[in-house]
């Protein structure tokens, strides 16, 4: 099927996620330097993960907004830049250990649990850590998550056609890293929302045959 494009910066965690058996028939890696309208022609969603190439995205933002204008979904994680996203992202310290030191005080304080991305999730499954906050969002955007200081963590808008969702969470990268064991909950919700298909319930596994490759499809 492979109807969700995962914009690929050659980063290992992106690769681990997209080649995992439970996700590999849904996501299609699209190397960021090869991003064109044609590469997205059969896709219904585009994921721009944390640790993306901000320069290359800015150079190709026309592809992204034409994809949105056609009614498709774009999902952005981590940091972004105002030269391709009409919003202001700012860095903040990352707290990876709140669940040890302050387990009742997660970095996200308020989540719209009616949103399909977060529906049915436990509060700790809706946030592991954040990479910064948004201090400005597009004029018609709706806030989906805020941190304890009231700053915006996640937002979405339909003002460009399809749904543009941005968050400072980094679910794709962290699911690839596999140091947080509950991320199947979030990533399976995300995958169903983007692709229309619910992945298998089992914990993500890794195919050793995907490593040490000498060619990669472009």
């Amino acid at each position: 099927m492979n109807n969700v494009a995962l914009l690929f910066n050659g980063v290992w965690s992106h690769y681990v996620f997209a080649t995992a058996p439970k996700y590999r028939d849904i996501y299609q890696l699209v190397y960021v330097h090869d991003l064109t309208d044609a590469r997205l022609a059969t896709m219904r969603a585009l994921v721009i993960p944390f640790q993306s190439n901000q320069d290359a995205i800015a150079e190709r933002k026309g592809v992204i907004y034409r994809f949105l204008a056609a009614g498709n979904t774009v999902f952005v994680e981590g940091d972004s830049r105002p030269d391709w996203l009409d919003a202001q992202w700012e860095d903040r310290p990352v707290n990876n250990y709140w669940w040890v030191e302050h387990p009742n005080n997660p970095p996200v304080a308020d989540t719209n649990v009616q949103h399909p991305l977060f529906r049915g999730l436990q509060p700790r499954h809706a946030c592991w850590h954040t990479h910064g906050a948004y201090t400005r969002i597009p004029s018609e955007a709706r806030v989906v998550q805020r941190n304890g200081d009231g700053e915006i963590v996640s937002w979405e808008t339909n003002q460009y056609g399809g749904c543009l969702f941005a968050t400072t969470l980094d679910g794709i990268v962290e699911q690839g890293v596999q140091q947080i064991t509950h991320l199947d909950n979030f990533c399976d919700n995300l995958t169903e929302w983007l692709s229309g298909v619910r992945p298998s319930r089992e914990r993500m596994t890794i195919d050793p045959a995907a490593y040490g490759i000498t060619t990669i499809s472009r």
């Binding site: 050659g10 190439n53 901000q54 860095d91 990876n96 040890v100 596999q178 890794i206 040490g212």
Partner: protein, 207 residues
């Protein structure tokens, strides 16, 4: 002083981790169209190539011949990342999630050159009491490569390979290393290990 070329794939604030010091100067090479040629030209005057955590291993596969040529000239490769493409001669990295991170502990391997001297191994294992935060997956090292650090199950986490090519390859199993003094982490084990690696590599510069 080492002249180091760092691969830059446009991720946020990569430059902060590689600021010039008395031990090293840095030149960044951007990925994208023309990358292999750009890398080859920049490496002409470099002592070392550094592939940081979060790097682009599609670009590195495209430039694998450039890397081999650099190593054949006796130069140094640092890769502190998970190389899922086969651009590093003789050594293989793969991701694995079959072991529990709570059980991860590291042990010093052969370390014939005392590269781990003064490095607080516990800081590589634990962060705020949480284990398994640093490296991911494991390395299958080349024959005769030196394994500096292993994990609970004896798998290679840090490798020094001076056997496969005339140069040297210093590889982590995706564990990030840099000089983190820029953010005040002066005694951090990662910075300490990184500076030890720079010092060892500096000794290998041919006059």
């Amino acid at each position: 002083m080492l002249n180091i070329v760092v691969i830059h794939n446009g991720i946020h604030e990569l430059e902060l981790m590689f600021q010039p010091t008395a031990e090293a100067s840095y030149t960044f090479v951007r990925t994208g169209p023309g990358f292999p040629e750009r890398l080859a030209a920049t490496l002409a005057t470099a002592d070392a190539l550094l592939v940081p955590n979060g790097s682009d291993h599609v670009a590195m596969l495209d430039a694998s011949n450039v890397v081999v040529e650099f190593l054949q000239a006796g130069k140094t490769l640092f890769c502190f990342d998970g190389w899922f493409t086969a651009w590093i001669p003789g050594n293989h990295w793969q991701m694995d999630n079959s072991r529990r991170t709570i059980e991860i502990r590291y042990q010093i391997g052969t370390d014939q050159h005392n590269i781990l001297d003064g490095v607080a191994i516990d800081e590589l294992i634990f962060n705020h009491g949480i284990s398994g935060w640093w490296a991911c997956g494991f390395i299958t090292p080349a024959a005769n490569a030196e394994v500096l650090l292993t994990d609970t199950w004896g798998r290679a986490m840090v490798v020094l390979d001076e056997a496969t090519t005339p140069g040297r390859m210093i590889l982590t199993s995706s564990g990030p290393l840099a000089d983190f003094r820029y953010d005040g982490s002066n005694s951090n084990a990662l910075s300490h290990l990184y500076r030890n690696l720079l010092e060892y590599s500096s000794q290998k510069i041919q006059p």
